[in-house]
Subunit: 263 residues, 4 copies
């Protein structure tokens, strides 16, 4: 086995019993975790003043390591049958969701002029924890949840469309009711949409609320419809979980006495 | 085929492969979408000042197109067997929900003295998207959701009745508890109903809340009962979705005694 | 049939086709509805000033009618086999929930010194609507809902106990965290319980919230546990509805081909 | 039977018909209940001023009783086969959750310098109510609920992980959006996490909310995702309850091929 093959095994495959791969995985994961904590803590003024330089040094070192890891992955990925072609295979590999997240984690460091700091998105890289810990249990449970959400994709997309319609209509209604009474708060339909979101999700900060009788009447109906916004996705997802369980059972139902399958 | 038949085919039926009908559908849908966006954006002061005349011109043009479309639909609908009689068929057609929405979308333009601007209700016309995109998948999913809600109509109506009773009782209770302490906020039972709605739906803006010990005690019980207001419809709708799935499965079930299918 | 028997038939039994009973039912129901509306409207200052005397007169007349109805019911109830004994039968009848509600609706008028006005509780008498309208559909649906809640009584009682424990613990925690920083708001554990209720039910008026770091940490955990307070009863009630549907099906499942029951 | 065996029977086992054990249980339970009420009431200023000394005396007496009970339990537990060894058995007994709660209830009295008052945690000791009242019904229902939560442990842990990721990401996003506009409120990512919690749980106190357009846009998406935070655990727990019911039913199911029971 060549160095490239071995490298790929270490950075990606992680066969059980491969100590080098396991050590590598845990090291990178710890580094990611520390990085997330550091980038969060670094925004606190007192921490920044006291530990700012240390945090920046740590940031630089870890980005260098992440960059090397990314390049090593790119270099060695061609040993995998999925990405075997030198150019198109590597492009395909770099378009994998996990590679895009990895790139987003290091790119802002080289492009400081972009402005938006994506470091805290590194939290997404922590999803690797499922791979590292080899906790198949959690991994299969994650699959169950994503399968349920995927199997109910259409219902959830439709609920989102209904929600956005409700959002537009409720914002329009309240704008016409409240604009005269509170011209500064309910200044336009887009501004009133913020009120719609906080009401339909039942957050209700209290920065915007109707004061006219008509506005309160409309808002009451909208707030009650907001309960439906909870009931629909909850009912859909609940039904999805029950279906998933039923499917799993159907595959295995065998009478323990005669050994025949029970459909 | 006469012009009237062909026109009806284009504006309504939309057979697969009928390019003219498809182009017509997409054009109208795009116009509706742009109209909704324009009527929302037009309420923003800065947009109105800069683009006001353009938006008004666009509004006038699209209402003219919508009016022509509405009249063409009315003229040609008699070729459909459902609306074949010249007068009663056209009246029946104009009472279809989709025709009423279409009318509401153009009428306010001709009746500016009505006062309430219904333009943003045009968002409802966007439901046509399901017809245009021929995405039977989404259309059948929409049917599943509406079927579930329809099959649980009685339970949901009853829950609404229970909710309105709870609303009246809680508003009365809080009025008697808080009127003395906050005579301006809790000025009457109808005024206190606004508090009831924001509490039972758990929105809680914070513009009205009890300050007396008795009021807080009553409000606590009401807020906890408000959780039931979520639990009941959610449970009902969830059960509805599971029933719908079970029904679908039953269509392929066979009787274990005679082996025939059970519909 | 004596007058007493016929009277009982009119005020209580309501056989189909009995016009007198039906007219009586609708009259009383309309009177109750008008009474509820009047007692709510009467709390509005402007309505009270303008229509106050009229509302009071209407109130007096309807209480007289309700009292007569109550006494007539008491007089004639002995013709029913359930309440046939002159004294113990009438006491038993007066202890029926519906009789207690009827009494509560008229008693405060004769005991004005009691102070608390129970008129708006007359809304409960509107439950008769199910009897009057003879809408068996809604009545049986109401039974389904109450059956589900009754069959899950123990789970719901237990959830309530868990909730009250969570309420006490969270109030104690926040009191110790916030008392020093906000001695006036978080003045005692009972006072902090108001915060617990508004947070666990996710109402969040914003009249009380933690400001210390420790208080915010504890409140975060409590708010997230509050989600469980929604999830548990919703899951329980949802399961109850599904069980109720399954039971109903089991009673009727017969193969349409061979006529045998399918368990 | 020696004194130690009899003592253990009274303080722990509680055979049906054992009056001494029953009286002991009810006495201790009443004392716990009174203690919780006293420690809550004692934080109210007016109660403290008037009844302070009485409450303190009651506190001292009950802690003495609780301490004696704890020591008696420790002394006699070796008669149980589970804790039969003099030293390791007693250590094992003192590590039982119920023993730890008992210790936490008395320890703070002897260690006043610890600072945090854990008296209100005594509410946890009220769980004994299930044992005392011998209400097997409620006890088995409690088992059903804990079984459901345990059987869905992995899904719930995973949902918690997803929630904490969402918490970190949403706090980071809002920090970058709002820090410039509200530097005092959105001062750092950890500070913004408080906003994330109140929004994702839909509590929304209104002490922190975005004011910039970009911040409101992000917050809208986050608030809507917050609905998913309700939908997922609710769906999972609902499915768990339905599974639990199905399992119970299966125990009486027979195989349609051989007629034997399937466990």
């Amino acid at each position: 086995m060549g160095i490239r093959e071995r490298t790929w095994e270490i950075v990606e495959a992680g066969k059980p019993g491969d100590t080098a791969s396991r050590v590598f995985d845990i090291t990178i994961l710890t580094l990611i975790l520390l990085n997330v904590v550091a980038s969060i803590a670094g925004t606190v003024q007192s921490v920044h003043e006291r530990w700012g330089e240390l945090l920046e040094a740590f940031e630089t070192i870890s980005v260098v390591i992440f960059t090397i890891e990314y390049l090593v992955r790119m270099w060695s990925c061609v040993t995998s049958p999925r990405f075997s072609r030198p150019i198109s295979g590597r492009i395909w590999h770099s378009l994998q969701p996990i590679s895009i997240i990895d790139l987003l984690a290091i790119l802002p460091f080289y492009l400081p002029f972009v402005g938006i700091d994506l470091r805290s998105f590194r939290v997404l890289r922590l999803f690797r924890i499922f791979r590292v810990a080899k906790i198949g249990r959690y991994y299969s449970t994650l699959n169950v949840i994503t399968d349920v959400i995927r199997s109910k994709r259409e219902e959830l997309v439709l609920t989102s469309i209904l929600m956005s319609f409700l959002l537009v209509i409720s914002a329009s209604l309240l704008y016409y009711c409240e604009n005269a009474a509170q011209p500064e708060l309910f200044s336009s339909i887009p501004a009133t949409m913020w009120w719609s979101v906080t009401t339909l999700t039942s957050v209700g900060y209290g920065d915007m609320y109707p004061v006219t009788v008509l506005g309160k009447l409309c808002a009451s109906v909208i707030a009650i419809l907001g309960i439906g916004m909870f009931a629909l996705p909850t009912g859909i997802i609940g039904a999805g979980f029950i279906e998933a369980i039923a499917k799993k059972k159907e595959q295995q139902q065998v009478c323990p006495h005669c050994g025949k399958e029970i459909h």
